[in-house]
Symmetry: C2
Subunit: 411 residues, 2 copies
């Protein structure tokens, strides 16, 4: 080998005892969330931390208003213990911008939903300025609701269908027609300045995958891929329990996977990309051309409702189109299964209500195209958190930061 010797990033660094307290605060908090009501002794027994340490950690968590005390236990042998539960003081807000809707969700520290709003909005045709105004109005309303309940805001995260730079600038969002839009900056400037909380922007698929990994029916599946089913198709990829972001945070662009050189023209100018074959616009154009008689619909929801009615009535034109789209989704799932070997591949967004007609053909293609027997164990399923998955993921990202030890300070 040459003389160059590098230290791989993956090898251990000298053990540092300074982060131990932050880590252990987060561990204690997560234990209370999962096992409340519980006592200090319970935490000590479960975590292996000694009682004095746990007592000091709990004092800290009480000051930060992350946990609260709730009476004494009566059902135990020995001295009654003071029981702890989560303090219901905090809220995390997740937002989503997409081609035909805006969404807002707020969750408390336990992940309970405080509000969940969805507005029809023509994001595909509105200017970025108009869209951000509408989003800000929705965000303000959510923040007011949270404030009216005397909650402290942990943060706001917005999901968008596009490439997002680490500073919250949306560099490209083809289905919105955006390029280099400083969404984070504009939103942060428009929200009330009397409170300080982090505002961040992330890719919609990344957030939806985060939500499913945390709370979906396949929660904890360490290798998971989530496909957004919107006008565009993106992938959120979890590897070893972590979001795969790539070198510049741009990973997960699956929409332009070339599948059929003879297929329909895609927004990117080439033919037969996954998105041009299976995006909700392409799907409707194929299954229900009448939807487009008055131009591109600005809201897919009513069109999808009609499509589902016709699929249920077993109208052949519709079920054939859905089978074809399902097949292409299976192709893409095969590529993901071969390349990433996930446990779960999820079809999200508008694919969820259409799953009964999409999944059979998709699963057949996956089985054909995966090289490993049994598709390497990959299950192809419908998303389990529905239309809110991205916004829920926005809130989940904030709660995950708390879990990782980034605790709010005491007031």
């Amino acid at each position: 080998m040459g003389p160059t010797l590098i230290t791989p990033l993956s090898t251990p660094q000298p053990a540092d005892f300074a982060d131990v307290r932050a880590t252990n605060l987060a561990v204690a908090l997560r234990y209370v969330r999962a096992h409340a009501p519980c006592s200090r002794a319970d935490i000590a027994a479960a975590t292996g931390l000694n009682k004095a340490t746990v007592s000091s950690l709990v004092t800290d968590l009480l000051e930060r208003r992350l946990v609260t005390e709730t009476g004494l236990t009566e059902h135990r042998i020995g001295r009654p213990a003071t029981m702890l539960m989560l303090d219901n003081t905090y809220a995390a807000v997740g937002l989503e911008v997409n081609t035909d809707h805006l969404t807002a969700v707020a969750l408390d520290l336990a992940g309970e939903r405080l509000l969940s709003w969805r507005r029809s909005f023509p994001g595909a045709t509105a200017t970025p300025g108009k869209t951000i105004s509408a989003l800000t109005a929705l965000a303000r309303r959510a923040l007011n609701r949270v404030a009216a309940e005397d909650r402290r805001l942990l943060g706001v995260t917005v999901g968008v269908p596009g490439l997002v730079e680490p500073d919250g600038v949306v560099s490209v969002a083809p289905s919105l027609g955006w390029r280099d839009v400083d969404l984070r900056g504009q939103l942060a400037r428009s929200l009330p300045t009397d409170t300080t909380f982090p505002v961040s922007v992330d890719n919609d698929a990344n957030l939806a995958a985060t939500a499913e990994y945390r709370w979906g029916d396949h929660a904890g599946a360490g290798h998971l891929a989530y496909l957004t089913g919107q006008t565009g198709i993106g992938a959120g990829i979890i590897v070893d329990g972590q979001l795969l972001r790539g070198a510049r945070g741009l990973a997960g662009e699956l929409g332009h996977l070339p599948l059929d050189p003879a297929g329909p023209v895609c927004g990117c100018g080439r033919r037969g990309c996954l998105e041009a074959l299976t995006g909700v616009g392409a799907l409707l154009r194929r299954a229900d051309p009448e939807s487009f008689i008055d131009g591109v619909p600005s809201d897919w929801e009513p069109e999808l409702t009609e499509l589902i009615r016709r699929a249920k009535a077993e109208e052949k034109e519709v079920t054939a189109a859905l089978t074809e789209v399902g097949g292409w989704l299976g192709h893409a799932a095969g590529v993901l299964a071969n390349l990433l070997n996930p446990e779960v591949i999820m079809l999200g967004g508008y694919f969820v209500p259409l799953a009964p007609w999409l999944l059979p053909a998709a699963r057949a293609q996956l089985a054909l195209r995966a090289l490993a027997p049994d598709a390497g164990g990959a299950q192809l399923v419908a998303g389990t958190l529905g239309h809110d998955a991205t916004a829920i993921g926005g809130a989940a990202k904030i709660l995950a930061a708390v879990d990782a030890g980034h605790l709010p300070t005491a007031e």
Copy 2:
């Protein structure tokens, strides 16, 4: 959210002080490797560990014969210090089985090459039993050489072009015609029983990526994808400095990426897979059909030498074929760039000597097909460790285990 609350794998566990010593032993060892000759005080200063701890760690490393003392320094102020360097006692052996060759490499603890052998062998047509016999003979010879130099063996890792189960069984290796071959078991049983060392089997692309990540010209690139250029095409993917293995260790199957439904028939039965368009057999069939007059060549090396001679002479048939193959490789690189956002995409194996003719077309396609400007920063380059990359990676995997704190015990 529902009542299900899970603890994501990615969130911190209670800090455990038990692993600190193993971690710090590895840290001290890595420091010596990178900075030898160096003193105990140097280690303390660089790592922040106190001198008593470092002294105890070094005693341990001396007993394990991982470091050795080498005279006194003369060039410093104050008391002369005993200098340390790596003990040159250990060796790690990496092997590769492929369709037309067997390879063996041995490296010392510093990554210096002790031996590097390549044998032409018809792996594509030989039975698994024959191939494993030939591999065992080569391995024995490498082990004898290592033993003759009085070195202790850290382990043996074999790379194969196929899906490898964690227990070292090769479940599918299409280009070798293998299915459910217990390579690890057979090899371990055939090697000398008077020594005990770990024998493991891994995917060839995974090992080559590991080698490039550790010692190649792009060493340390945390997001890297390596494409093997053999009869089959596989991908080794590094994400955040870690190999992406997937749920069952089967990730990285890129060879059957569907690119051209009208393309040539692939070994998998479908048409136009990446492998059917760009594998070395497909490439030669397209560029130099005469190579196949006497059947499929059992050794690609002489055929490639002739191809390169003709490419250098600018024979149009050959350069056109290489441009076409390069274009398809660029398609695949585009898929990887969009999905994984790597810093580096490497074309390895037989693509390395052909890179001057493949890369221009490949880079043009990558630029066209990547959604992010500048392909998200992905550089498309030729592999930098040449034909031995997989075998080197086999040895690198063993050295990485030492780096991670799995140290050999004292004799």
